[in-house]
Amino acid sequence: MSTDNGTKKGDILVEMKDIRINGFSDERWHEIIKGVDLTLRRGEVMGLIGESGAGKSTLGKAAMGYTQPGCKLVGGTILFDGIDLAHASDGQKRELWGSRIAYVAQSAAASFNPAHRLIDQTVEATVSHHVRPAREARADAVELFRSLQLPMPDTIGSRYPHQVSGGQLQRIMTAMAMSPRPDLIIFDEPTTALDVTTQVEVLAAMRSIVEEFNTAAIYITHDLAVVAQMADFIKVLRYGEEVEEAETRKMLSKPEQAYTRSLWAVRSIEKPEQPSDDIALEIADVDAAYGGRVKVLHDVSIRLPRGRTVAVVGESGSGKSTTARVITGLLPPIKGEVRFNGQPLPRALKDRNRDQLRRIQMIYQMADTAMNPRQTVGDIIGRPVQFYLGKRGREVEKRVIELLQLIELDESFIDRLPGELSGGQKQRICIARALAAEPEIIICDEVTSALDQIVQEGILKLLLRLQKELGLTYLFITHDIATVRAISDEIVVMFQGKVVEQGPKSEILAPPHPDYTELLLSSVPEMDPDWLTQLLKSRRAEQAAG
């Protein structure tokens, strides 16, 4: 308990100097962290930000003296409250971890043991480190649940991990980290996997509890808007080196480096809205259910104007992806129909002919799993060319090269396997595969949400350019409002399997909104350190009034 140890806010807690960490891949060692300094005082929150691969997680974990398998600390000093963690024995480190240093991982679902009750897992480290006895720790955990605003704080602990939602699980994980009253908590992308509406609650809960107990924290994320709400200081990393470090307000108002400015690049794309009445695809009054029982879509009707982008927004479970499955025929609807160029499409995939299949293509969220890891880029893009257009041999290769150029890659990629590509390149190959079929409509299912800001920008610009050149129609499924603002012509808002509203971008984004749209739009973090505070204040005021 930091405040009882005779220490006070402002004392240096963590001091890392000239940290160098090497990682082993491709038969040799690479430098992952190239000499970074980090100083953290008690009660401060440091935001570590950068793209994936910048080394922010590795650096964050190094602050607790941990390097993951395949990495090793090769230089520098790590002082935690005067203890030299770089040279500490495993036993010493184990003493600290779970009592004075805690870690909150990105995926709470993967971090809990499904076979034990939540409260037992929450207090496990506290009890095993003899920070306090079990009975006391449990009572304290309930208080933590209460201050994290979990529903039914007295009994929620007796549930199992699968019985609570993702956002609740993430808050319980924060309670677990807070239970031994550590001096330092490392948050490793704790809200990245959550919906915007849930993210707000989790952020608010984490911030208040960190403030309440005056805990120092390192907050790792790639989302500048999120870190702006949490951190006192922000450190930007790139390729294992520090780009700049500054106070949050200063960083947001006057970033010194061009790279830092590019981190919010997506927010700078703008596409003028173009209305159109030429409907390419229409879904009319569709009901759909999984396994014939659980109805997930209720009377969904969406219209896609030709050559335009319709963005479908909503939180997870709202039926966005199910709608895509109905359109592609993977999930035949139980009611309603899908009309393509005025003609109804057969409901099931197997009843559609090759030409109907060719005209509607799909791009997936995770480019990693959307490409067969054992096929080369040439095979992946070449197959639709062969399959739909009947080309053979040299012709296929020629077309593949054309397509690679179209997505701003070149023919040197043709023999590579997906594992040898970066995340952005992979998504480009997936786009090329869809283009290879020469489709009219492309369904983009969260295609940019797994990518970094700069890469996102590149992909979105590419999609816009292709639309202009080839007259493509996009159905763009996403939960990211910034992306929607950037590329859509029309917006469909979905909630619990129903369409809340559909209309031109300008109309939907301008007030007044239906309640749900309002909640969704207001939950998107903004680049303003006071945004969360004000949002919470206004929501509380509304609650009090209502």
Binding site: S25, S52, G53, T58, G70, L421, G423, G424, G458
Partner: protein, 318 residues
């Protein structure tokens, strides 16, 4: 070459790496290697046990291939002295009707291993094919196949094999087919289990959305991704088939004389063991084919263990 690629990567504006993985996070583009180079690199890192295993397997294969050249006498050639002692003429002596033991050991490698290999291939063809179909289908075909396999597996396989062999007769072909079918149940289960997790991947869905048929999805999308566990299982299954054949031969329903086979050689000369107190060498004679079986089994297992470890994704801490 690699600088070209780095440039291409940069011009693509894709400075970032895939979803966070510390090992890959350095911006350097990985070098493309030919399959042969990859295999060689893998071999160089193989532990001693795997090298031992591979050497033994190689020697066995050579012996099996060149049996007629290596064996001093014919497979079924009978000499006047049964149970002959070890001497210069017959290095390991002769068996119960006077055939040269060394020659029969060498021919035995060919027969026993050849039949085991064909049987294992056949069982993988049946079990693997049906397993893939079940994994992709996941509805009534899967149910029917899986329950039928459960029933087959519920019957003790050795007894079942004995029964079937006595019905259909102990010819080489019926031996191969019966053991292959009984063994394919386990291959089916493994294939189905690993294929199910691949069948739900987006790229399989993408192939189906494209309109690809069952054959393409099986061969091109799923099979290449489940090869490592199947290859490892192949090694293990081979051992078990080998042991099953030896056991059946020992029981008298396996490979029939005069074809030389290690299992039946043990049985034929088993009575010699009781003479060990008078002549140690005579006592060892029936153990020689048994040792040949044991050594091969151990060798194959060493290789399989290494292969499993390599492909399981477990990383050694550096």
């Amino acid at each position: 070459m690699s600088s070209d690629k780095t440039q291409a990567a940069q011009s693509a504006g894709a400075a970032a790496e895939e979803t966070y993985s510390a090992a890959a996070e350095v911006g350097a583009v990985r070098k493309r290697r030919t399959r042969l180079e990859r295999i060689w690199i893998g071999l160089k890192k193989a532990p001693l046990s795997a090298w031992f295993g591979m050497t033994v397997i190689l020697i066995y294969c050579l012996v099996a291939l060149f049996a007629p050249l290596l064996a001093p006498y014919g497979e079924a050639q009978v000499f006047p002295v049964p149970y002959g002692p070890w001497d210069a003429e017959h290095i390991f002596g002769t068996d119960q009707i006077g055939r040269d033991v060394l020659s029969r050991l060498i021919y035995g490698a060919r027969n026993t291993m050849g039949i085991a290999l064909v049987t294992t291939f056949l069982s993988f063809l049946i079990g693997g094919g049906l397993g893939l179909v079940a994994a992709i289908n996941r509805s009534w075909i899967d149910q029917i196949l899986s329950r039928f396999i459960d029933i087959l597996m519920a019957i003790p396989s050795l007894i079942f094999a004995l029964m079937l062999l006595s019905i259909f007769g102990s010819t080489v072909s019926s031996l191969i087919i019966i053991i292959a079918i009984l063994d394919s149940t386990r291959v089916f289960r493994l294939t189905r289990a690993v294929a199910v997790s691949v069948a739900v991947m987006d790229y399989v869905e993408a192939a189906r959305l494209r309109g690809e048929g069952l054959g393409w999805v099986m061969r091109r999308e799923i099979l290449p991704n489940i090869m490592p566990p199947l290859v490892a299982e192949f090694g293990l299954r081979f051992c078990f088939v080998f042991l099953t054949i030896a056991a059946l031969s020992f029981l008298g329903v396996g490979i029939q004389p005069p074809t030389a086979d290690w299992g039946s050689m043990v049985r034929d000369n088993a009575s010699l063991i009781q003479f060990a107190q008078y002549d140690l060498k005579a006592g060892i004679t029936p153990l020689l084919p048994a040792a040949a079986i044991a050594l091969l089994t151990v060798a194959v297992n060493f290789v399989v263990d290494w292969f499993l470890h390599k492909t399981s994704g477990l990383r050694d801490e550096h």
